[in-house]
């Protein structure tokens, strides 16, 4: 029968691919390897964040390997990074966890996006995988997922403090919160609306079509509404730069706030320089004026033989590093990269420590019911009347 060749060919192809993969991973295991997975969007619009997480993991692996490897008992094991593109979708997150499970990877940096975490964690729970995610989504960690950790804090944590500080400096009675019409936009925007609202600010959420490149209509809408301030924290950096640029074209002279992952560089770039900004305040997810940041840049250049990540991606890479360092340290203390309960126990026991920021803490019990969110200091940056006022270091209390 000549139908069989077709059938066999299709099946053979699948088997060939799978067996090659299995053989390859078996060969590595014999050389004492610690496997670190990275899950995030590496293609598409959000790829900058996924690639930042990948860069962080690769840097950390390079750093540890430069010292001969990760100490595991009385030997040192090489750290190898396994990236997976989870495409900012629920299905992608689930596929990532299955992929990691097939490669016996039990520690994962990421996922980065809310939908990815939604898809990832039920599967990861079954397979037994520890992860440090970056998303702002509500309920990102919880008692239902004991192996899930949070590498940074959501607006709900530092929001009250930072909003209060901002309101001390700037008079804001009406606020327009701008975000894209997807979960990346709504996760942060909804929390921010609540936080500002609790401190007496009248807020309005404005969502734009994701993929917008020309923000002139949105800028015009803002100009017509005349709010005291706009919040652009959840916007992707390129979009934020474009919006600010076109707002300046339109003659906007109000306050700009970014209490989220955006940072300063995109807005400064959009305005055309610090001197053009009348009032801007933003969250530094890691305080970038710390000496540790310069040390990181130097290490990065030395190890990766490439320029350090651009200014606005630097905090995202360093946040990823925080999570990676704790996971690897826990693996080293536990003496295994496979026994997740042991590794998780070490994580919960230890005081989180960053090579670049010193000691931090764990928190999260009050909000999430589980103390598995990293507490490292953040910063509030302020530019007023065209001048940098400075970065206020804000300690995040451990619990």
């Amino acid at each position: 029968m000549n139908r069989l060749p077709i059938l066999f060919r299709a099946l053979a192809r699948g088997v060939l691919v799978l067996s090659c993969g299995t053989a390859a991973s078996m060969a590595w295991a014999q050389d004492c390897e610690v496997k670190l997975g990275v899950s995030g969007p590496m293609t598409g619009g959000a790829s900058a964040w996924g690639l930042a997480a990948k860069a962080a993991a690769e840097f950390e692996a390079a750093y540890v390997n430069e010292q001969g490897g990760l100490p595991m008992g009385n030997r040192k094991c090489k750290v190898k990074v396994y990236p997976f593109d989870s495409q900012y979708t629920v299905a992608g997150g689930a596929a990532a966890s299955n992929y990691f499970a097939s490669e016996n990877i039990r520690i994962v940096a990421g996922p980065i996006g809310g939908p990815e975490v939604t898809g990832f964690r039920p599967v990861a729970k079954r397979h037994g995988q520890i992860n440090f995610s970056n998303t702002y989504m509500a309920g990102v960690i919880g008692t239902e997922y004991p192996l899930g950790f949070h590498a940074l804090q959501s607006p709900i944590t530092w929001g009250p403090i930072l909003v209060k500080e901002a309101l001390k400096r700037f008079k804001i009675q009406t606020l327009m919160i701008i975000g894209a019409n997807d979960s990346g936009g709504t996760d942060g925007s909804k929390q921010l609306a609540k936080l500002y609202g609790e401190q007496g600010v009248k807020t309005q959420e404005e969502y734009f079509q994701r993929g917008t490149t020309n923000f002139a209509p949105i800028a015009q809408r803002i100009m017509a509404a005349k709010p005291d301030a706009i919040e652009i924290a959840t916007m992707p950096p390129a979009d934020a730069t474009q919006l600010v640029r076109q707002l300046m074209d339109a003659g906007y002279d109000g306050i700009i706030g970014a209490l989220g992952g955006l940072g300063a560089p995109p807005v400064i770039q959009g305005a055309g320089g610090v001197e053009k900004l009348k009032a801007y305040y933003w969250l530094e997810i890691v305080p970038v004026t710390e000496p540790g940041v310069d040390k990181f840049k130097a290490d990065f250049e030395r190890l990766m033989k490439a320029p350090p990540p651009p200014e606005h991606m630097l905090p995202h890479v360093m946040v990823g590093l925080n999570g990676d360092q704790q996971m690897l340290r826990a693996v080293s203390l536990a003496g295994t990269d496979q026994d997740v309960e042991k590794i998780a126990a070490e994580l919960r026991k230890m005081t989180p420590e960053s090579r670049y920021f010193g000691r931090g803490g764990w928190r999260g019990k009050a909000i999430y019911g589980i103390n598995q969110e990293l507490a490292f200091p953040v910063g509030l940056g302020v530019i007023q009347n065209g001048k940098r006022v400075g970065v206020l270091r804000v300690e995040i209390p451990a619990e």
Binding site: P5, F84, A94, M137
Partner: protein, 332 residues
């Protein structure tokens, strides 16, 4: 179109047969990779079958993700409401809701031809995504509906990981059988519309009726695929039904061979495996996928199965040069 109706039917049957062994995977192995590939393949084949139904009429429909969303969300709402989580009920709902939507939509949209049709169906996806976003109380908005309870079957909980995969394969088999039934029952009518619509009309074929049948069937099959996805992930999320995902389903159909169901199955299995392989290469994955698409489409424009069939035909005609052309069966 080829006169090899009998052979095409056999190839269609082989398409169904190719999917059946997927049932064995979750029952005989706990390998996460194989199980992941299996459920992805099951869902992908179901969606590609929906594309296939329309292709039989020469229409390329971009509505598949939108109807998947209708089916998936409908099933999710039903399961979460507590009324029932019965697998058969959920499957029925996920087939019927998109099919019902397709009837009025079809009367509006099926008048369009060629690229206009493609375009309207694509815009329909975009509109649905926006509606999902603007209706958070009903659909969960950008967060979707999570924590959807898994389907059950008369008391048996199908929530265990292996059984979830089994459910997707079962849904896939049902979707494939429905596709087979529809495309075989009305094969002649669909073919006549594909080849020459005006001629078909003049011969008395009520083109609008069969187009609607195909459109509704395609919608229902898409809905089943959507339910399969939602059940597997326990989440109905807008990102699962993005407009651009239709490119994948279309690619499965074309790379495998759009002429037969075997082509659909082969294309889906191959591309899903390759996509997973490429995902491990992170940022290169889109480019690798593009190269694969180019290579296959240029080497075999009628797809892998179509290309093989053509080669076999060539061999046959070489070894039997004096054979008369087969008599064409005509259906009134």
């Amino acid at each position: 179109m080829s006169p090899h109706r009998h052979r095409d039917f056999k190839l269609d049957i082989w398409g169904v047969a190719l999917v059946l062994p997927l049932l064995l995977v979750p029952l005989f192995t706990t390998s996460p990779l194989l199980n992941s590939l299996t459920y992805q393949a099951a869902i992908g084949v179901s969606a590609a079958m929906a594309v296939y139904v329309m292709l039989r009429m020469g229409l390329l429909s971009f509505t598949v993700p939108a109807f998947m969303a209708f089916g998936g969300y409908a099933a999710a709402m039903l399961a979460k409401s507590g009324v029932t989580t019965n697998l058969l009920a959920l499957m029925a709902v996920s087939f019927i809701v998109p099919a019902l939507v397709a009837i009025p939509l079809g009367t509006l949209v099926l008048r369009l031809k060629g690229v206009y049709f493609i375009f309207i169906t694509f815009i329909f996806n975009e509109i649905l995504q926006l509606i999902l976003f603007e209706t958070p109380t009903l659909t969960g908005g950008s967060d979707g509906i999570s924590g959807v309870p898994p389907a059950t079957l008369f008391g048996i909980d199908l929530g265990k990981p292996a059984l979830l995969v089994v459910v997707t394969v079962v849904v896939c088999i049902v979707a494939t059988l429905i596709t087979l039934a529809v495309t075989q029952r009305w094969r002649a009518e669909f073919t006549s519309i594909e080849e020459n619509e005006t001629l078909a009309e003049s011969l008395g074929v009520a083109v609008w009726k069969y187009r609607t049948i195909g459109f509704v069937a395609s919608a229902g099959v898409s809905g089943l695929a959507g339910f399969s996805l939602v059940n597997m992930l326990s989440t109905a999320h807008p990102s699962s039904f993005a407009s651009w995902s239709v490119n994948s389903y279309i690619a499965y159909a074309f790379v495998g061979g759009r002429g037969t169901m075997l082509g659909i199955a082969v294309g889906s299995l191959l591309l899903i495996v390759m996509t997973n392989v490429f995902s491990a290469y992170a940022h290169l994955s889109a480019g690798l996928y593009g190269i694969l698409l180019l290579a296959v489409m240029m080497a075999a424009p009628s797809g892998l199965v179509g290309g093989v069939v053509q080669l076999v035909d060539k061999f046959r005609s070489r070894s039997r040069p004096a054979a008369a052309a087969p008599v064409q069966e005509k259906q009134a």
